[in-house]
């Protein structure tokens, strides 16, 4: 069964028959074709597929199958809603679709997607609708508190620590992972908590290691306290009296600081902070995979476990 095809079909059917007007349907469809989304041809990871594969492993009951696809589609819409807000909050280079919208329309679109997702949870869940909805709201609430804190999580004179970083990651990212597990009613399996945490840490570290080096992301300009920058600042304070902090403070003071950004990025790489994050990311992923394999030992059909692991490791 091709997860991507199934989720796409669900979403296409839903869009076609939804109460949204044609402009809105077109906008949402375009956003779902963006980077990292389910209709993007080469997205290495989508939340919808992840939800689908997780359900395949942890829910062996066949009657759950239709709901599994719906769940994956809803997860895709929910994450799209939160991504739109993230992009607006970070001030990142906007996606071509969002760049044509005013902030008011962008915010309203996100809110609409969120409400539609809640509606779909109630519509598509065969059992325990309110339980599912409450788990989604609980995790989104935690994530939103984390996202709010993230707005001021910056490198200043008193830089956040590594443990602050992991605490915030647990709040803003791992909660979304938990949402996926709980949406698929997997909360009776004690192992899922650790799996969600490890996958969440791994993904956040990998993204942060990549984003600090990219001009299309605002992490460096905004001096976001992601782990690569926290470690590089720690290194600089010990080795050269905090030269990196001085350089960071120069960002945004001239009309073209592309050379400064390049120097800072070279410096961060040379401190070993990127290696550190990438190694930790892989370690956490390996730990999640180990737990999934252990869980899969008791299963009759091992192919779902293999599919999930292959998906996470590709």
């Amino acid at each position: 069964m091709d997860a991507k095809k199934e989720i796409r079909r669900f979403l296409l059917d839903y869009l076609k028959n939804s109460e949204w007007d044609s402009e809105t349907r077109h906008l949402i469809s375009s956003l779902l074709h963006g980077e990292g989304k389910i209709f993007h041809e080469s997205a290495p990871f989508t939340w919808g597929e992840f939800s689908y594969y997780i359900a395949s492993v942890f829910r062996e009951d066949t009657e759950f199958h239709d709901e599994q696809t719906a769940c994956a589609g809803i997860v895709e819409l929910l994450i799209l809603a939160t991504d739109i807000i993230d992009e607006l909050a970070d001030g990142d280079a906007k996606s071509p679709v969002l760049s044509g919208l005013t902030p008011q329309r962008t915010l309203t679109l996100s809110s609409m997607l969120l409400m539609e997702s809640f509606y779909l949870i109630l519509k598509c869940s065969a059992a325990d609708r309110l339980g599912k909805l409450s788990c989604v709201i609980r995790n989104l609430r935690t994530a939103s508190i984390g996202q709010w804190r993230d707005l001021s999580f910056r490198i200043t004179g008193n830089a956040p620590s590594e443990s602050d970083y992991f605490a915030l990651t647990e709040q803003k990212s791992v909660s979304l992972m938990r949402l996926v597990f709980e949406m698929n009613a997997i909360e009776n399996e004690p192992v899922w908590e650790d799996i969600a945490k490890y996958i969440g840490f791994s993904g956040q570290l990998r993204n942060d290691a990549a984003d600090i080096l990219r001009d299309t992301k605002s992490d460096l300009i905004n001096k976001k306290a992601t782990l690569p920058l926290i470690k590089a600042v720690e290194f600089s304070k010990q080795k050269d009296g905090g030269r990196l902090l001085d350089q960071l403070n120069l960002l945004g003071t001239s009309w073209d600081d592309s050379l400064l950004r390049q120097n800072i990025r070279d410096y961060i790489k040379k401190t070993g902070a990127i290696d550190y994050c990438l190694i930790l990311s892989k370690v956490y992923l390996n730990r999640a995979v180990k737990l999934i394999k252990k869980y899969g030992e008791a299963q009759r059909d091992k192919s779902d476990v293999k599919q999930l692991i292959d998906y996470l490791e590709r």
């Binding site: 470690k231 070993g272 290696d275 550190y276 190694i279 930790l280 370690v283 390996n286």
Partner: protein, 54 residues
């Protein structure tokens, strides 16, 4: 485990060649699963791009 990994990365910084003795030290310092990933990274040659402060 994280602090130990950071310390080992700093220990290896700027080294052109990583000897067996240094790898043994890393193996001793790190948990087995962390060491395995660290070794993979060293083999890719990524670690050696770091500063040489020695």
């Amino acid at each position: 485990m994280n602090q130990k990994l950071w310390d080992v990365i700093q220990l290896f910084s700027g080294k052109e060649v990583i000897g067996a003795g240094e790898m043994a030290l890393a193996r001793q310092s790190l948990d087995a699963d962390v060491f395995n990933v660290f070794k993979e990274q060293v083999e890719k040659g990524i670690i050696m791009k770091t500063f040489n402060w020695v």
